[in-house]
Symmetry: C2
Subunit: 271 residues, 2 copies
């Protein structure tokens, strides 16, 4: 059995971008978990991407796998990309390199010039090196990141199809533990996603898997959440780290303890 893996940002222009990542002087630790290191991307850096996804910020499982959008939000995004026909020719980056800490950390720093400039240098490289047909922004901070790029001289020269959709874990954030609210929020999100899909699907000219658009129902159906492909993970990463199981948690009795901790528990049945 041959295993596939993602080499990561080892070639130019990404190798230089990675070498120059901003630290806690740019991402203040009061608002960002800079201590876990920057996490840059998921997907193709070899020029073959046609779909660009802009997410928000990495969570705990991403700090271990060192790729973005590998947890629950990632599985939902993988399904959303598949609805557009993309199973491989995609590239995902985040609005922020580091995990946002606190409720307002992202809003507070969305206009910080060095954060914007570094992200725009990635977007410049991505658009310069790929034929991006479609851009999806997950959530309002990602939409803001896209608008800021579109205001740059280079950003103005590209006009891919674009949609700003509800962030894939907004239902969990907004429902405050209420099962009824969660169900309603997921239904609303999937309706929002269906609208974006109806707009974007006809504009996709290089899908990996062509076919008619199959919209979402009111809840996630079997197959709507898709495992992160082996070819998106670094070499040797075990399969369960790409699974939908919640295998990484921030644990601790105090906020400080939780911030300093990630507890990994292999899902039942693996060993």
């Amino acid at each position: 059995m041959t295993h596939l893996f993602d080499p990561g940002p080892v070639s130019e222009p990404y190798a230089s971008l990675v070498g120059a990542y901003p630290g806690s002087d740019v991402y203040p630790p009061a608002s960002f978990r800079a201590e876990w290191g920057p996490i840059f991307h998921r997907g193709r850096l070899d020029g073959s991407a046609h779909l660009l996804v802009i997410g928000q910020d990495p969570a705990q499982s991403e700090a271990i796998v060192r790729r973005i959008l590998v947890g629950e939000a990632g599985h939902r995004t993988q399904g959303l990309m598949a609805k557009l026909g993309f199973t491989r020719s995609y590239l995902l980056i985040n609005t922020f390199l580091y995990s946002v800490y606190g409720q307002t950390g992202g809003e507070q720093h969305k206009d910080d010039q060095q954060i914007v400039d570094y992200r725009n240098s990635w977007l410049r490289s991505i658009f310069g090196g790929n034929t991006i047909e479609v851009v999806l922004a997950l959530g309002s901070l990602a939409d803001d990141a896209w608008q800021k790029w579109k205001q740059t001289p280079v950003g103005q020269t590209y006009s891919p199809a674009y949609a700003h959709v509800t962030h894939p874990t907004e239902p969990e954030s907004s429902s405050g533990g209420s099962a009824a609210k969660l169900t309603a929020a997921i239904a609303a999100m999937l309706q929002n996603w269906n609208q974006a899909l109806a707009t974007l699907h006809p504009l996709v000219t290089h899908p990996d898997v062509p076919g008619p658009l199959v919209p979402y129902g009111d809840s996630f159906a079997p197959g709507d959440r898709i495992e992160i492909p082996e070819f998106d993970a670094p070499a040797g990463i075990p399969e369960w780290m790409r699974s939908p199981a919640a295998w990484a948690q921030r644990v601790g009795k105090t906020a400080a303890d939780k911030r300093a901790n990630i507890t990994i528990t292999i899902p039942a049945g693996v060993i």
Copy 2:
């Protein structure tokens, strides 16, 4: 500030070797923690290695960083390599791709042909692609790995300087929690290392940092344990993951719980 990183096994012949790694059919889960995935190497895969180190098996911090010998054993090994003049032109692989589980797992499977064959395919690539002057085996299982390679037709064609030294954390393993025994075991280990250094140091012709041999004393002096360089870690790995702090532990009330867990705690003072 520019950050350096190790691209990992992304080029041939290593990319193909990584793609073909053996799984739990070859490394039985009763004796190996196959569930954490294989961990392949640390150091240069670009043909610039002159020193080859063979370790034993990866521990918990290695399962997170996805490079071998980054914990306490790694810091001691980094110092040992530096005594020979090597600060960069080294390559480290392990006897086993997966962490050994239980006291006898390694001994039990050291002759397993598929384990030996896969490791020898790495050694064939390493010797074919580098000018290896010196080989260090850490512990008796690594020595056994070396002897098995030397028995192969290709292995017989290379004759680097070689030493089998005491494994860098043998003192902890053998002293059973006794501080006096630990002190004595470290002194004995450093004497063993000094003997190897006296033999090997004159045979090094391409050190990174030339200079006279400075032997160890009876205990580790300041500077004898050296932080893992940034250029040995994947992109974005935080500095504390390369530090000597014991930031990764296997935690749990039962053996099964411990086996399924790695708990990461950022060292005090980082946040």
